[in-house]
């Protein structure tokens, strides 16, 4: 399948001619396509060429963000990466903070890592669930989506919203952890650890799953690097790269965790690595809740601008309100980049300010977009039934790729 090392340029070089092939239009309205169209050339049951047609859910997030105040981009980037909202929010805020020159206090850093890890678990469960339904197992689909629920309840308890939390703002976070949160989180983590064993029996080590995924969609280490794949899919191919380790942000420098890597780079490895990352995230949440430092959850520059009503609210309800600065924020001219390891891979942000009240240039690359070569390169040579396996195993999320 992937015998040679791919060249980035030969994305569309596979020429297919003649009437020998069945051309299958999978999507955009198809149970196995998501919000995209996958055009597949089939020679019998073998895939000859795949042409993923993306852009069906393009939402002009960059255009919208360049015509709004800085703070208003937070909900916009969240809605692009719906299963992974916190990371998009965090990446954007990190870039803005670099422009503003604000450093959030340690407690806020830890809380950011806390929600990020909770969100990573929900994101991976989302991926596992979708993978399950793509292979036909409705049980894993329901289980994974059900098991997101305790974690989403934690987010709801902390931030007041289940998915689109808008929790992280320049300078800190919006709410401190409420009473009873730690106990509840510990229960949820123990529950998840127990459930992972059940997943192992019914899904990960199920002989049917192993037959469907082992040696399917192999992406070798060199190919993964040259195609620019990111995130768990890259690590499943054996590349030790994780932004949390290599360019740490938030509380990650202080946390003790491992970056799991696999060797084979097939669909089974990509499934396993998500399970392993869930275990690491559980470990990190425990550490964060144990080591959570005391102190403010918002930087002093922001806190000092709060009016007396807001300060009273902060002391009583542990809730950060927005000073007028948030609306009229005008970061000094300059450029900033930020990288965040999201559930599906690395988000990259580039923001340019001219000192105006809107961003001058707002550019971001989402992990799903960078995992697109799996369709064009890895799927070729497999059977038609392997296309959902590959699609599900890379945890591709079309709205995220389309932005």
């Amino acid at each position: 399948m992937s015998e040679k090392i791919f060249n980035i340029d030969d994305l569309q070089n596979i020429k297919v001619e003649g009437e020998k092939y069945i051309i299958l239009q999978i999507g955009p309205s198809h149970p196995g396509s998501g919000h995209m169209r996958i055009k597949v050339w089939l020679d019998g049951d073998i895939i000859v060429k795949v042409d993923p047609d993306i852009g069906f859910v393009h939402r002009t997030s960059e255009w919208l963000s360049e015509r709004r105040e800085w703070i208003k981009a937070i909900p916009i980037v969240e809605r692009i990466m719906l299963p992974d909202t916190v990371h998009a929010n965090l990446a954007y805020v990190l870039a803005v903070e670099k422009l503003l020159g604000i450093e959030p206090p340690p407690r806020a850093q830890y809380l950011r890592s806390l929600v990020a890890e909770i969100n990573r678990i929900t994101s991976h469960l989302y991926g596992i669930g979708i993978f399950g339904i793509f292979l036909g197992s409705s049980t894993v689909y329901m289980w994974a989506f059900g098991d997101r629920e305790p974690f989403i309840d934690l987010m709801e308890m902390l931030t007041g919203a289940r998915i689109t939390t808008s929790y992280i703002i320049p300078g800190g976070v919006r709410w401190d952890i409420p009473n009873g949160f730690k106990e509840r989180a510990e229960t949820v983590l123990q529950y998840m650890e127990r459930r992972l064993k059940d997943y192992e029996d019914i899904w990960v080590k199920n002989p049917v799953v192993q037959a469907r995924t082992i040696n399917v969609g192999v992406l070798k280490k060199e190919d993964a690097i040259s195609l620019g794949v990111v995130g768990p899919n890259l690590r499943a191919s054996g590349v030790y790269y994780d932004t949390r380790k290599h360019q740490p942000y938030a509380a990650y420098p202080n946390l003790d965790f491992e970056v799991p890597t696999m060797k084979n780079g097939d669909a089974y490895d990509r499934l396993l690595i998500r399970v392993e990352e869930i275990k690491q995230s559980i470990r990190m949440i425990r550490q964060i809740l144990k080591d959570l430092p005391e102190g403010k959850i918002i930087a002093d520059q922001i806190y000092n601008q709060l009016n007396p009503v807001m300060k009273k609210n902060y002391e009583e309800k542990k809730r950060v309100m927005f000073p007028a600065f948030m609306i009229h924020m005008r970061p000094p001219p300059g450029e900033a980049t930020a990288k965040v390891e999201a559930g599906r891979g690395e988000i990259f942000f580039y923001i340019k300010s001219t000192g105006d009240k809107y961003p001058y240039r707002f550019r971001w690359v989402t992990p799903s977009f960078r995992n697109l070569p799996f369709f064009t390169h890895v799927a070729v040579g497999h059977r038609l039934a392997d296309l959902p396996t590959i699609y599900g195993s890379i945890d591709y999320f079309p709205p995220e790729a389309d932005r």
């Binding site: 059900g146 709801e156 002989p207 192993q210």
Partner: protein
């Protein structure tokens, strides 16, 4: 990580999978909520529908400015009709005579419940509620007038059993009657 990958032999694998499925078939483990018959009492900081305190609001338009989807419109409002003195908002002097001011109205069709407006309000005039499942029958209902907007949102399924969710070691989420 290779010990994780080690495949299980098919016979054991099938038996274990079937046994686990059978175990889940027998033991009580439901984690879903029988929604319209039971509704959840949400945590106090849940971001639901919100209304505004007419007395507290000073008509400063900050909420309109911060609203990311531009769902908030400021509508003109005259307070103190006929020159009567109104009870003054907290911490302000009494004003005399009719006064032109503005009040926010939220278009629920656009609102994304980010609560930026609630947080930016310098006098904390918004009144948040935990109501989140209001259904609108007509397109017009999305855009209430100011008087309609002032009324607190009505919760559907008033006869439903109120429950609170609780983390559970066995089911993940379990529900118990709300206090």
């Amino acid at each position: 990580m290779n010990e994780v990958r080690k495949p299980r032999d098919p016979v054991t694998g099938h038996i274990k999978a079937l046994a686990k499925g059978f175990k889940y078939l027998l033991e009580p483990n439901r984690m879903t909520l029988d929604y319209p018959a039971e509704t959840m009492k949400l945590p106090p900081n849940y971001r639901g529908f919100f209304t505004v305190d007419d007395k507290k609001c000073i008509g400063c338009s900050m909420c309109e400015m911060v609203c990311p989807p531009e769902a908030i419109t400021m509508v003109p409002r005259i307070i103190g009709e006929g020159g009567k003195t109104l009870p003054a908002p907290e911490g302000e002097k009494e004003t005399k005579g009719p006064k032109r001011t503005k009040r926010p109205v939220v278009n629920w069709g656009k609102c994304i419940f980010c609560y930026f407006c609630v947080d930016v309000c310098p006098v904390d005039a918004f009144i948040p509620t935990q109501v989140h499942d209001v259904a609108f029958e007509k397109d017009k209902d999305y855009r209430p007038s100011y008087e309609e907007y002032l009324k607190p949102p009505e919760e559907p399924y008033k006869n439903a059993k109120k429950v609170v969710s609780k983390a559970d070691l066995k089911r993940g989420v379990s529900y118990e009657p709300a206090p």
